[in-house]
């Protein structure tokens, strides 16, 4: 199990952890930076200052309690729905690929894609506003057309690691995916 430091597309520090459970099972997890105390206190003080200003204007103390309530609700919603702590990829050869995002409140959302549906894992380039970013994605097989791609599933969307991290993940994935191809080829030869 190794952990290496990389940067995201916007410059934030990321950590990539690669764990090998067995010869055909590997887990790759990208850990995003935690919620900064600085930004949290800045937002809270801004909201409370605005509420205090409103209170001075209209002399209604409900504004202050509403501001506290809103801040709490906003923080809970942010931690539960928006802030992603870790995104991981579990590749189990001959079973499938599992993509997990875990939020700061502990919620985990998983998607499992069976190996028969996975055509390939590639790194794509995209032009976003004024930047060119790279992203890793899984190409899903079109059931009717063996050469066609029915869907593209992008990975690591909130952490957005840079190309060096993506190349590591890509190589790890392909070591396991190529085993499948080798197995199917040797079956074909027989």
């Amino acid at each position: 199990m190794e952990e290496r430091r990389y940067r995201s597309a916007s410059g934030a520090p990321l950590a990539l952890r690669c764990r090998q459970h067995s010869a055909s099972c590997r887990e790759l997890a990208v850990r995003c930076p935690r919620l900064q105390l600085r930004s949290l206190s800045a937002v809270t003080s801004a909201v409370w200052l605005a509420a205090y200003g409103l209170f001075v204007l209209c002399q209604n103390s409900m504004v202050l309690s509403a501001a506290i309530f809103l801040t709490l609700i906003g923080l809970i919603i942010y931690l539960h729905f928006v802030k992603i702590d870790q995104e991981s990829l579990l590749v189990i050869g001959s079973l499938g690929i599992q993509v997990t995002s875990s939020y700061a409140s502990g919620k985990e959302s998983t998607t499992f894609i069976e190996m028969s549906q996975v055509k390939d894992v590639v790194i794509n380039e995209a032009i976003h506003m004024q930047k060119v970013i790279y992203y890793l994605c899984i190409l899903l097989q079109d059931p009717q057309d063996p050469q066609g791609v029915s869907e593209v599933v992008p990975l690591f969307q909130s952490s957005q690691p840079r190309l060096d991290c993506l190349i590591e993940v890509y190589k790890s994935c392909h070591e396991i995916l190529d085993q499948r191809k080798a197995a199917s080829q040797s079956d074909g030869v027989k």
């Binding site: 067995s22 729905f81 079973l95």
Partner: protein
């Protein structure tokens, strides 16, 4: 290829024995369904498996051996288990052994064919047999080909477990030749209430079907189809709602079983919605008939109607003066104003005539709340419609007048320009008019044009009033539709037994040890998307929408504008309702994750 063994977690503490299940060669995976314990006679085991195969059409066979040694490793038992491999010939023969309370098991395969030299990796996947059996992730088993190429691999496994129900019917208390361990081996899981209900449901359904056929026979009889009565039934929303509920009851009490999952869910949703409806209705009734609430209601009804009439009279007096500073045509204003005031006077007389009977009528009508809260709400909406009938009449008069005026104006405007509407060709053609035609036409045009503001104002005011009433009625109908089509059974299932509506699986990697096979835990993932659950109920909502559209189209003897308003309004309300339902369900799912 990697060998995958799906092992049920309930068999982790079973005694030593042999493993039976299904071997899927294309995926190189073994789905273990149960463990058969010693002593057994191999011939009897094979016979039993043949019988099971005939019933379930799943190729169940002996896959390997299971060794659970509580003390130190017993050499003789492991040799014995290897020898079993020769009696039950299966390729490959899987041997799983567990020592004491160790978490890490040994798993190896015996290959008979010597040309398989490579060391196959084995993955052990634990699954919860009960949840996998009850979930509906596998495709419907109406097709007999279980080895279809395009079926997803995991669904084949789910299908295997779900089809092998008969295997799970024998428990350890049965005196059979074979002793097995599976998820029901400690005793078949059943609920007395459910069994009793199943037994009672057959005669209940037959009785219900008989009663419903009687009722629908009476409803469809020709006596009730004469013109005034049929017009009345189509206008009252209570009759529509009753017809709707009758349809629901017919769906539930039909004797043929549900074909597939969606039909079963629809039936269950309708049943739960009917139950909740009747319960809420009885609650409402118990509140109404206590402490003379009906008397209070009847007492407040007449003063409210009087108050509304007084407000209308004030409004008309305002219109007859100079409303909002506009200058109206005095004569027309007076005529229209007096005409409407006389109507209000007639209406008030009717209400006062009926006032002694109101309490009795309300008392008997309130009894019908036992049919359901939706029926009570529909009756309320109908009562509102009846009490504000005069507003509706005013709207109709105003709309008709305005409509005639606009027709006349447009036709005379064409005459003014020297054109004519060609009915045959459906277009505007030029036409040469005589001088007297032109003279009278221009005169009439001027008259109508200058009377337009008055009529337009009356039309506007009464349309707004009628719109208010329609909005109130629309809100009540929205509530009724919500109760009708909310899929309560699916929502309850999603929160209590989420594995039945599972959308997928997720794997968790358990603790590993070098040299031992990879251990994974397969769990069911509850569905998050509301679209899986909501369309199961929307079928009933759509029926109602269609019938409503028909009603609004039929009853149009009045102005075209009325259809436009109410049907557009109702369609918008339906759309809003669907959006609200989707949003609510999604929020519920997200928060209660």
């Amino acid at each position: 290829m990697v060998l995958k063994v799906f092992f049920p977690s309930c068999c982790s503490s079973a005694e030593s024995g042999i493993l039976i299940g299904r071997w899927i060669p294309e995926q190189s995976s073994a789905v273990i369904l149960a463990v058969v314990h010693f002593p057994f006679i191999p011939v009897q085991v094979k016979q039993y498996l043949r019988e099971v195969q005939q019933v379930t059409k799943v190729s169940v066979s002996v896959l390997g051996s299971w060794n659970n040694s509580k003390q130190e490793k017993e050499e003789s038992l492991s040799e014995f288990l290897e020898d079993l491999g020769t009696i039950f010939s299966h390729e490959p023969w899987i041997q799983i052994s567990k020592e004491g309370d160790s978490k890490f098991w040994n798993c190896s395969t015996l290959q008979k064919q010597p040309d398989n030299h490579r060391e196959e990796e084995i993955i052990l996947v634990y699954y919860d047999q009960r949840k996998v059996m009850l979930s509906h992730l596998h495709p419907p088993s109406d097709t007999a080909d279980l080895g279809a190429e395009d079926a997803s691999k995991l669904s084949a496994i789910f299908n295997t477990v779900a089809s092998s129900k008969v295997l799970f019917m024998t428990d350890r208390y049965d005196d059979g030749p074979i002793k097995m361990t599976h998820w029901q081996s400690d005793g078949i899981e059943a609920s007395i209430i459910v069994e009793l209900m199943k037994q009672a449901s057959v005669p209940a359904c037959m009785l219900l079907t008989f009663l419903l056929s009687l009722v629908s026979g009476v409803c469809n009889s020709r006596v009730l189809k004469f013109w005034p009565l049929s017009f009345l039934w189509s206008k009252l929303s209570t009759c529509e709602q009753l017809g709707h509920r009758l349809q629901h009851l017919q769906v539930i009490s039909s004797s043929k079983k549900a074909q597939n999952q969606t039909q079963l869910m629809r039936k269950a949703n309708i049943f739960v919605s009917l139950l909740i409806d009747v319960a809420l209705g009885i609650l409402l009734m118990s509140w109404l008939y206590r402490k003379n609430q009906i008397g209070h209601l009847a007492d407040t009804l007449i003063p409210v109607a009087d108050h509304v009439a007084e407000e209308l009279q004030d409004l008309l007096q305002w219109l007859m003066g100079a409303p909002a500073g506009l200058k109206m045509n005095r004569a027309l204003d007076q005529v229209l104003g007096r005409f409407f005031l006389y109507h209000i006077h007639l209406w008030i007389s009717y209400i006062h005539l009926m006032s002694p009977f109101i309490e009795m009528i309300l008392w008997y009508v309130g009894l019908s709340a036992c049919l359901g809260l939706t029926v009570a709400l529909c009756i309320l909406s109908d009562i509102i419609a009846l009490l504000t009938f005069h507003i509706y009449c005013f709207y109709v008069y105003g709309a008709r007048l305005y409509c005639l005026k606009i027709y006349g104006l447009s036709s005379l405007w064409r005459l003014f320009r020297g054109k004519k509407w060609n009915v045959l060709r459906q277009r505007v053609d030029s036409c040469s008019y005589d001088l007297d035609q032109l003279f009278i036409g221009t005169l009439l045009f001027t008259i109508l044009l200058f009377l337009l503001p008055t009529t337009a104002l009356y039309y506007l005011v009464f349309t707004l009033l009628c719109l208010l009433v329609v909005i109130v009625q629309g809100l009540i109908h929205l509530l009724v539709d919500l109760i009708d089509s909310l899929p309560l059974y699916s929502i309850i299932l999603r929160f209590c037994r989420s594995y039945r509506l599972a959308a997928g699986v997720k794997f968790r990697v358990l603790e590993q040890q070098d040299g031992k096979p990879l251990r994974l835990l397969m769990q069911l993932h509850p569905c998050r998307h509301p679209s899986l659950v909501l369309p199961l109920s929307m079928g009933t909502g759509e029926l109602k929408q269609e019938s409503r559209k028909l009603v609004t189209q039929e009853s149009m003897g009045t102005g075209e504008q009325k259809t436009g308003h109410s049907s557009v309004g109702k369609r918008k309300i339906q759309l809003l309702k669907k959006q609200c339902l989707c949003a609510c369900f999604y929020c519920l799912c997200l928060f209660c994750d």
